[in-house]
C-alpha cells in the first residue's frame, strides 16, 4: 500500500476554487510548465482583484489550449489557430470584459499567425499569453515556427533549418502596446507581467518560455523539464527595454527575458469611436458594446 492515502487525503488547495476540479488531474506531462502558468495567471487575477465574471479566457488547440477547459471562469476552447478572432468578437460584443487569450506558439504564431498580426495591427484590447515550448507538443513534436535553428523535431529529424520567429519582435513590429517575455521559472515576474498586460488597454503579449519534457526535451536529449528549468535559471538574462530585434532564441543559447515594450496607442474601439465621431459629428453614438 502506498504511504499516502494516509497523509492528508481531503486537503483543499487554494487554487481549487479557480479550477474545474472534475477535470483535475490535468493531462499535462510531469515537469511540464503549463500548470505553473495557470497558477501565475490565477495569481494575476487575484492581484488585480478582478471578479471571476469580469474576465474570460479563450484558447485554441494544443497542450496550452487545454487551459480554457481547466479554469473555472467563462472560457472558450476554439478551433485551431482561431483563438484571437474568437476573442476579438467576444471583446467587441462586450468591451468591458477582460478578454485573455492563452494558447501555444503553434496555435497563435503558426496557424493563427495571420490573426495575431492583424489583431496587433488593429490594437484590439486583448491580452495574449503565448506559451512557447518551441514545438508542436500535443500532435507529436512537429517543427513549429518558433523551433530554434538546429533543434530536432519529428518533421525535422536532421535538425531544423528554418529561421524561427521571435515572438516579441513580431508583436512589436505589428504594433502591440505591451510585450514581455518570461520563463516558467520566473513566476513572480510573470505574475506582474500578466497583471500589467491585463490592465493595459490594447493588444498586449506575454510570451512564456515553458519546458516540454516529452517532446522537445526528449527529442533533443536535454533531460527532463527540471533540467530545462535549470537551464532557464542559468541562461536567462533579464534586460528590460531591450531592442526587440535582438531577442531571437538560438538552440540552447542565452534567452533574453524582461519587459520590452510598454507604449500607448488608441485601441480599435477608441479609434473607431474617434473617427466616426469626427465624420458623423453628434449623430454618432460611441460604441460601448452590444451587451448591456
Amino acid at each position: 500500500m502506498t504511504k499516502e492515502a494516509t497523509l492528508e487525503p481531503e486537503l483543499s488547495h487554494p487554487m481549487d476554487d479557480l479550477l474545474r476540479m472534475d477535470r483535475i488531474p490535468h493531462i499535462w506531462c510531469p515537469t511540464c510548465g503549463l500548470g505553473t502558468v495557470v497558477t501565475a495567471f490565477a495569481s494575476a487575477i487575484e492581484k488585480l482583484q478582478l471578479g471571476l465574471d469580469d474576465i474570460t479566457v479563450v484558447s485554441g488547440i494544443g497542450c496550452t489550449g487545454r487551459v480554457a477547459g481547466y479554469v473555472k471562469i467563462d472560457s472558450f476552447h476554439t478551433t485551431h489557430g482561431r483563438a484571437i478572432p474568437f476573442a476579438t468578437g467576444l471583446h467587441l460584443a462586450n468591451p468591458k470584459l477582460k478578454t485573455v487569450v492563452i494558447s501555444g506558439d503553434g496555435d497563435l504564431i503558426s496557424i493563427g499567425g495571420n490573426h495575431f498580426i492583424h489583431a496587433a495591427r488593429r490594437n484590439v484590447d486583448l491580452t495574449v499569453i503565448c506559451v512557447n515550448n518551441f514545438i508542436y507538443a500535443m500532435t507529436g513534436g512537429q517543427v513549429a515556427p518558433t523551433t530554434p535553428l538546429t533543434a530536432n523535431a519529428s518533421t525535422m529529424p536532421y535538425g531544423n533549418f528554418e529561421q524561427p520567429f521571435s515572438i516579441p519582435y513580431l508583436a512589436d513590429s505589428c504594433g502591440a502596446v505591451y510585450v514581455a517575455r518570461w520563463s516558467a521559472l520566473h513566476v513572480r515576474r510573470l505574475v506582474t507581467a500578466i497583471a500589467e498586460a491585463i490592465a493595459k488597454p490594447g493588444f498586449s503579449v506575454v510570451e512564456v518560455i515553458s519546458p516540454c519534457s516529452t517532446l522537445y526535451s526528449r527529442r533533443n536529449r536535454l533531460g527532463s523539464g527540471l533540467d530545462l528549468m535549470r537551464f532557464y535559471h542559468d541562461n536567462c538574462e533579464i534586460k528590460h527595454g531591450a531592442d526587440t530585434r535582438e531577442l531571437a532564441i538560438g538552440f540552447q543559447e542565452k534567452i533574453t527575458v524582461g519587459k520590452f515594450i510598454d507604449r500607448d496607442r488608441p485601441t480599435f474601439v477608441e479609434s473607431m469611436n474617434n473617427w466616426y465621431g469626427k465624420v458623423f459629428g453628434d449623430e454618432y453614438e460611441p460604441y460601448e458594446g452590444s451587451v448591456k
Binding site: T2, K3, E4, A5, L7, E8, P9, L11, H13, P14, M15, D16, L19, I24, P25, H26, W28, C29, P30, T31, C32, G33, L34, G35, T36, T39, A40, S43, L185, V187, R188, V191, S224, G225, L226, M229, R230
Partner: protein
C-alpha cells in the same frame, strides 16, 4: 565572522555576517506546508527551488507511482510561497503559521 543569531522563532539555518539592527523586533514568518500527495507527478520543482531547502524527495510512492516531496525541515519554512507558485499540479501550498511566525512582524 558569521554568527548564528536567533533571527526568527525557529530559523535554525539563518546566518548573518553582521547582526541586523532590527533583528530583535523583526519576526521571520513561519509557514506550514501542505502537500496533496496524490496529485503530485514528481517533477521536483518545489524540492529544487525551495530557497530554504525545506523539502526533500520521499522514498514512498503516491497512488500514481511518483515520488512526492516531503517536509524535511519544517522549522525553516518562511512562507515565501514559491513551491505553491511553481507546482504545476496544484499539489502543494503554504499557510502562514500565525502562532509561531507572528505574521508580518
Amino acid at each position: 565572522m558569521p554568527q548564528d543569531l536567533p533571527a526568527g522563532p525557529k530559523s535554525t539555518t539563518a546566518k548573518y555576517w553582521r547582526k541586523p539592527l532590527d533583528a530583535d523586533t523583526v519576526k521571520v514568518p513561519h509557514g506550514e506546508i501542505h502537500i496533496v500527495v496524490n496529485r503530485c507527478k514528481g517533477c521536483l520543482f518545489c524540492v529544487e527551488y525551495c530557497p530554504r531547502e525545506v523539502l526533500e524527495i520521499s522514498e514512498d510512492f503516491n497512488v500514481k507511482g511518483y515520488h512526492f516531496p516531503e517536509v524535511s525541515k519544517d522549522d525553516a519554512c518562511v512562507n515565501c510561497g514559491l513551491c505553491e507558485m511553481l507546482c504545476p499540479e496544484f499539489a502543494i501550498f503554504c499557510v502562514l503559521d500565525e502562532e509561531e511566525g507572528g505574521g508580518e512582524g
